[in-house]
Subunit: 666 residues, 2 copies
């Protein structure tokens, strides 16, 4: 969707403009007046002028069509105004008014009708139930309560208006600003996808912040993100954990796949940094905005023993790399501070002076291994806070400096001075770690993310090409898998006792199971019988297993193998994903699952596998063989007609590669 | 250790008192002068008066012995001053001076010598390298930089001086105070144990805060804590993750037992709330200090959609219970707010007025299910922050009110007003959740913790009684375990091929393994052979297994059983603990381990088991049987002479109870 009309407007009509200062229509008109180049048309049948502007009775009266119509009238009137918008050929409509889909069925019907009308007329729609948008570089504040947001590098796309207000205030305190910000509201028209595309192109935007409670199209989002994060970090806060349910499935693949787990792994694959809290969203975006480059290696300088010990614990936990001092830096520090213990954190001790901080920071600034400098300062009896604050305000090359002033309100004046000087400021050591954790992840994503193709832009659920017909039976599926080079144990399918002699071609002991391709928890139900040592027991097993009305497969026993689960499923919301982990009958209990999204390159498959416990059991050769097998299986899943699910469990990992011991499909 | 002399002093000598304002000896003397009832003896050979007080040349010159001697002279002189302290019979010595054990071997030797001398003379020692202590209710500030701490309900025991400064400042901002606070320094004498005992008895103390980097005696700490937390919450921040190493062991029991994992489960058992960050320590202690009772059920009221959605996600994750509105509360709210969606959080929407907040909070205050009220407020275009701040200042019965004002510095004046009025204030929703998480845990600990006996006060490593001699062989150990009623599979031990005929008493297939009681990773090494179907294969197995120079045990195969690991180990630092989880040869990979400390009551064993993945596989009867077996094994471990380790893996959990399939001991 091309949304440039939103950002390239010259004239705006405000329907519902009001002189009542309590009304939203008043605030928006006032905000828009910040830009004297905009041609503003207040629409209000009851006033002739408003805020010094000539008003109009309706859109039809305007001297020429407005580029944008902002609607802030009661919900009952909105549809007729929308009709006028269409008649007068505006390019974009912003519906501030609430009371639509969020209010239930009736509201949803009106909203759907409006959306369809505008879409047919090729008119952009933002909202309804939106706070509007702002574009500070263009001096456009088409919103209420946001006319003081300064231009800056952060683009914000949010499904919550309150989040926007809080973010703007936090950015103002931190002396950073916004490239553009959009409140999606009910997201009937303009969505996060078109805004992400805009952010990618917008040269003012260096950092992207997303607050989402649901997604328009997850596969497309991931694909888009995987390209954007190569140059601009995306920080996502997902609100609401019960929004997107996962579809029921015949296999175990989906059993543990919560939306949270899937989203975590999806974000990882697409290079999006999923933050855990709103606080982290604020801190990460501010610190990125203030960083010349995304930092990875942290050096800590302090006058506070305990707080810096705790910081190190947290950094290790969060996998934030603490830099090791180079021998050159170490020897320079020793010259300057002969009695200090050289380490990271560098503890200048409780009586550290501003001069000591300055000397230490200056020496450390020459160490190219250090990307970020954090200073943890507490005010002890003889601490010169004024002096130290001045030292912390000095730039240290292009390095990110984080000042952590720990200890109550009495340090707030120093924190404020530092913030006003553009320094990143925190109060507690964990806030330094949370900030760095997000930046380090963004940095790694920028380096390592592989741009991720989406299967189809219109729908994520379509296979790329179809080369096989849908496998109805176990034998069908075996044929398909074997055509990809996958191996099975030496096995015989028996549908009739007459065929028992065929079993003599196999080496005992055998394992027997039903070939029902949709039966869950086979082992638990007694649908798998192991340790069959002779034909007599085989017959007993057959007679038991035939109750499932499918042929019974007898397989030679495979020993000394690890059991893996590899499952692919086509989820209506997430698209095709693959689960990998420990397999076998305890698979669900062991809960060893990680996910990737199809189609994935082998490096992504290998990374996903490396995150499982299964990986720790495998040799290098076995790992390699398993990655190849998973890659083959993803092709098979995508290239088989109407397949929605394919699970191999157990997939035996032997010394000689992978062997398919059982399978399910949907 | 009776440390009452520290808190019941009338006279204090300050050795190293100085007129130089940069010297610690100056600051301490000045702090002590806050209390005009204290008799102060500055010791300084170079001045006749100091801060208006008569000085003395040495301790020997004093008109009568000082109760306490505070030493703040260079480290080289400290030992001779200590000798004088002993000669003049002071009751307690506080060594502020640093440069002892923390500086290496030489310093450690001097410190040890001083400690021993004072101990022999029955004189208390605090430090060295301590910031001293304060007891605000008694107006004693025997420290530097802490003479403005107000009396309050929080006792603080810390191994870091910088932590103390930061805590005092945070408490001052929050308008709460301290009952007593002690900087342990190098902890040569007075330790956290005697201070915890003091805190337990001290009627000013309602909340206990611990910052520890290492522990004097973990088993004693746990036992003590388990009694204290029934009336006073203990919040512990553990700094430094590499301090306490876990001893090497023959079994898998210790394989995954990191100090962190053990401490987490130990704290759980003892009822200590282990916080994750310094910030959480600050917030939890402040909120507890301000709570009339420890809250459990949270109600959220807000004008901010997104932030409260995020709060709910975090609360669910942190297991903070969000209260469900009672039908009475719901109907009263409906009367007042007919169009609002009734839920928790109660979203009063972006245009909420102070009156709406007041009405909602008043109604909710009558709901007895609500223990704590959190208000998430963002400043949107028409938000009356002044009015809402006033509403939030009103007390709501004895309920804890948490005001969360989200959005940058511009809200700081409102936050400050609220803090000054005694309200608990946060900036971000996650801070509300982190605070509540700690309080909810403290509340549950108060209810559920079972006071926990310590095996021996002098050493944690001694069994309570010895009834069995050390089991040298598999047979010995089997005899011991069977005497406790534990069961083994039907099995035969073979030490000589001549005895093979005994195998005919067993039903094939068999499992064979070496009875080496200390061999790790048996399955991986090939020291376990399964599926033995005839005497011929048994002979092959025997000839292979005899390489481990121990008898070979042949067992009947047990099918349809779950494999558990139950291991007990006597750790030099933690004392006896037990690991429970999924067993079998993959046990280490599955990493399903939880821990409890011996001796434990069955409810503790059952709780520990319930935290494992193993638990999800078991029926109610199997769970019951396993708890009984674990209980039996703990007795066995404690009652067997010289045993330091006992591991059953696998312990088969069958339909008919637990069966010991293999074991190790150390």
């Amino acid at each position: 969707m091309d949304i440039s009309a939103l950002f390239q407007c010259r004239s705006i009509a405000v329907i519902g403009a009001s002189r009542d200062q309590k009304k939203v229509g008043h605030h928006i008109l006032k905000s828009l007046q910040k830009n004297s180049d905009l041609e503003l048309f207040p629409i209000n049948p009851h006033a002739s002028t408003l805020l010094g502007l000539r008003t109009f009775v309706s859109l039809k009266e305007l001297p020429h069509p407005a580029d944008i119509a902002i609607i802030a009238v009661p919900s009952t009137v909105v549809e007729s105004i929308v009709d006028e918008c269409i008649q007068t050929h505006v390019k974009a409509v912003i519906i501030i008014t609430s009371g639509f889909a969020e209010n239930g069925k009736n509201g949803k019907e009106v909203q759907d009708r409006i959306t369809q009308k505008l879409s047919q007329a090729n008119i952009l729609l933002l909202g309804p139930n939106t706070m509007g948008y702002i574009a500070p570089f263009d001096n456009i504040y088409a919103s209420f309560g946001a006319d003081d947001v300064t231009p800056g590098p952060i683009a914000v796309i949010s499904q919550s208006g309150a989040m926007l207000s809080a973010l703007f205030q936090a950015y103002a305190s931190a002396k950073t600003g916004v490239s553009f910000a959009v409140s999606l509201g009910n997201r009937a028209g303009i969505d996060e996808l078109s805004l992400l595309e805009h952010a990618a192109k917008d040269h003012h935007t260096r950092v992207i912040v997303l607050y989402m409670e649901s997604f328009r199209n997850i596969p497309v989002l991931l694909s888009l993100a995987s390209r954007i994060v190569k140059s601009k970090p995306i920080f996502l806060l997902k609100g609401g954990t019960t929004e997107c349910g996962i579809s029921a499935a015949v296999s175990h693949t989906a059993a543990l796949a919560t939306p949270q787990a899937l989203l975590r792994d999806a974000a990882q694959q697409a290079g999006i940094v999923m933050v855990e809290t709103f606080e982290q969203l604020v801190r990460a975006s501010i610190a990125s905005a203030k960083s010349a480059f995304l930092p990875e290696h942290l050096m800590v300088v302090t006058n506070a023993g305990g707080p810096s010990v705790v910081l190190v614990d947290e950094a290790v936990q969060a996998e934030v790399p603490l830099v090791s001092l180079s021998s050159k830096t170490a020897s320079t520090l020793t010259e300057q501070f002969p009695t200090l213990r050289l380490a990271n954190p560098l503890d200048l001790l409780g009586d550290a002076t501003p001069e000591m901080f300055d000397q230490a920071l200056t020496i450390l600034s020459h160490d190219l291994n250090i990307d970020a400098l954090a200073c943890i300062v507490t005010q002890q009896s003889i601490t010169d806070m004024d002096g130290i604050t001045k030292v912390l305000m000095k730039p240290r090359g292009k390095r990110l400096v984080i000042a952590c002033l720990t200890g109550g309100d009495q340090l707030e004046p120093y924190r404020e001075k530092l913030r006003n000087a553009g320094v990143v400021v925190t109060e507690y050591p964990n806030e330094v770690v949370e900030t760095m954790k997000a930046l380090v992840q963004a940095q790694r994503n920028m380096e390592k993310t592989l741009p991720y193709a989406v299967l189809s832009l219109s729908s994520s659920a379509q296979p790329t090409k179809t080369t096989h017909t849908y496998p109805e039976t176990f034998s069908d599926l075996q044929t398909v898998l074997e055509s990809y080079g996958l191996r099975f144990p030496k096995q015989v399918l028996i549908s009739d006792e007459k065929d028992f002699s065929e079993l003599e071609t196999l080496s005992f002991p055998l394992v027997a199971k039903t070939t029902d391709l949709a039966l869950k928890h086979k082992a638990k139900l007694g649908a798998v019988i192991a340790d069959i040592h002779d034909l007599g027991y085989a017959r007993v097993a057959y007679n038991h297993l035939k109750q499932w009305n499918a042929p019974v497969v007898f397989q030679e026993t495979i020993t000394n193998a690890h059991e893996a689960l590899v499952g692919m499923i086509r989820d209506p919301q997430f698209g095709w994903y693959c689960a990998v982990g420990l397999g076998g009958s305890l698979s669900d209990t062991l809960a060893d699952r990680r996910y990737f999204f199809l189609p994935a390159q082998k490096t992504v498959i290998a990374y996903t596998l490396s995150q499982t416990k299964l990986a720790s059991l495998l040799t290098k050769e076995q790992t390699h063989a398993l990655v190849e097998t998973i890659n083959t299986l993803q092709h098979c899943a995508l290239e088989t007609n109407k397949l929605t699910e394919l699970e191999i469990n157990p997939l035996f990992i032997t010394e000689n590669g992978a062997i398919v011991a059982d399978m399910k499909r949907g």
